[in-house]
Structure formats: C-alpha cells, structure tokens
Symmetry: C2
Subunit: 183 residues, 2 copies
C-alpha cells in the first residue's frame, strides 16, 4: 500500500453553490475547511478555458491583434486567443481561433504549455501554442467581434513588454514560453 501525502496547504470543499449565472460569467461560492481546521468562504469565476497562440509569419514577425477590452475601457495589443468550446480539443480550438481572428492557417503547431491568468478568483487555464508555416486563408470574425490584425518583430514585442505597450499578462507569458523558439 502506498501512502498518499496530502499538500499541507490544501483547502477542502465543504459545500458549493452557484451564486451568479450570467450570460458570460458564472460565479460559485464554496464553504471550505482551511489547513487549521477553521472554515472560510471562496468565491470564484468558472471558466471553460482558453487558448493563446504565438504565430510566426514567414518573415519572422509575430501575429498580434489590437482589441478593445471593455472592462478596462481601452484597446490592448494581444496574441490571438479565445475560449475553448465545450468538448473541443485544444489544438482544434487554437487552429480555429487563429483562422477566425487573423485569417492565418499554420502548418506546424507546438504546445508550449499551460498558464493560469487569474488564480485568485478564476479557474481559467490558457493553453499556449506556437504556430509556424503560416498561410493566409481569410478570417471570419464572430458577430459583434471587432479587432485589428497587425504584426510585430520579436524585438518589437520584447520592447513592447518592457516599455509598457504590451501589458496583457497572457500575451507576456506566451511570449516568455515562446522565447526559446524565436529568432
């Protein structure tokens, strides 16, 4: 018999209930038992997960989007990204989002890893992909989706992060994971 050693920081669920069921956001509230035996409450967003793609064009430039993000009332420079549909394999999702949002298809795909954008109050995970061998096939934005497609050289993207023009954390984390693969 093997003894399973539990992480001493573990918080145990005592009960769970949906407390907000919006059109876009779902919030749950759980009662938990803390490591010291006391009880506390956790509220968090339930998210279906997402993908983000660092896509490299033939000339070495990276595909970026400029998109208005209403919660912060301004537009952001971001790598292509989007939510995973129910049951959708993550690679299929990445291929669909890249094509829909930017009009590019990629010949080679590499899964760089998983990141967690908001561990304090959301269960969202983002699967990060690296795409090369791009060909343009035309985009098809969802109804009500508006964005501009542009490109940055890896050096421009690095400078954009360090000089505060790129502040979206998923984009910065995706660039970090892609760095060993960039020229």
């Amino acid at each position: 018999m093997s003894a399973q050693i539990e992480d001493p920081l573990t918080e145990h669920e005592l009960s769970t209930e949906p407390v907000f069921d919006g059109k876009l956001l779902k919030v749950k509230r759980d009662q938990v038992r803390l490591p010291d035996g006391k009880q506390s409450m956790r509220e968090y967003v339930r998210h279906p997960g997402a993908v983000a793609i660092v896509a490299v064009m033939a000339d070495g430039r990276l595909v970026f989007e400029r998109q208005f993000r209403y919660p912060l009332r301004r537009s952001f420079l971001e790598v292509p990204a989007g939510k995973i549909d129910p049951g959708e394999p993550i690679l299929a999702c990445a291929q669909r989002e890249l094509r829909e949002e930017t009009g590019f298809q990629a010949a080679e795909w590499l899964h760089l890893g998983q990141i967690h954008p908001c561990i304090g109050y959301s269960d969202e995970r983002i699967e990060v992909f690296f795409a090369t061998g791009l060909t343009e096939v035309g985009n098809a934005l969802d109804e009500g989706e508006f964005l501009e497609v542009l490109s940055l050289s890896p050096a421009e993207a690095r400078a954009g992060v360090l000089e505060g023009r790129i502040t979206d954390a998923k984009t910065i984390a995706a660039l970090y994971l892609a760095e060993p693969h960039l020229r």
Copy 2:
C-alpha cells in the same frame, strides 16, 4: 482647437448595473454600443487592483511563495502579491504585502510597470515592483492566510516557467519585466 481622434474599436457604455455583489467578488453588467452601432452586453469583475513583487535576496535568489489557490484546487509557485487597500499608495501596498507574506523588508524599490491579468472579464491591474536590499523582519499573515515562503535562483525560476512548474501568469509576466535587472 485640437481634434481628438477616437479609437475606432471603442465600445460605448449605454447603461451599467451591479449584478452580483459577493463578499469577495463584484460583477457588473453593462449595455454597450459596438463600433458598428449595434448593441451588446458586457459582464465583468470589478477589482481594486493588486501589486506583485520580484524580491531579490542578498545571494541573488528570488523570494517565492507556495500558496493553495482554491479555484484550481492546487498550490502554485508565485511571487509575493496582494490586493491594494482603498486609498493605499501602490508602493506602500507592495512594502506591506512583502513584509506580511514573507517577512522581508527591502531597501530599494523600483516600479517595473503595470500588467493586466484578465482583460476579457476583469478590470484588475497589477503593479509590478522590483525589490532589493532585503532584510528579514518577520511576517504577519492575515487570518486564514496560509503559505510557504521559499527561494529560487533566477535560473531555477526561468526553468520553472519553461518546464511548466510556474504557470501563474502574473508571476511569469513579473519575471519577464524583471529580467533586465537579474543576474
């Protein structure tokens, strides 16, 4: 007279209402006018903002925490971070959080920039600081807060990101911003 040119991607608020007012999370729902004149709806979390600190010890190692994050039901390796209190200056917040969570005080502080962890559904911003000249003064965790303090060399932190042991996006973005200052 100067003409102000508006970002063509701008979405305009038509109305706003609080739709969930939890103990930890607040959610708003706004009706917006899209760039094409149509209407849509946006739901998003209102957040007070936060700080994150890349703190370098005398031997060059970085201060990390291991903390259980209930939404994802596991612990994460993170840089010290925490929410901004109402009216609190961001540097004072960073100094308070570093001391409370890790027991370290820092002699030199540098503001590295601002990141946005969750632009799709939260207005949270995180102010990233770089702290050096550390001395140990003892920590004072909040009631119900449990975490382990540890240290990683910059090389261990980089490998931790690339090999998937560090997946918290604010931590990865903070390391990216700190990179030019690390040995």
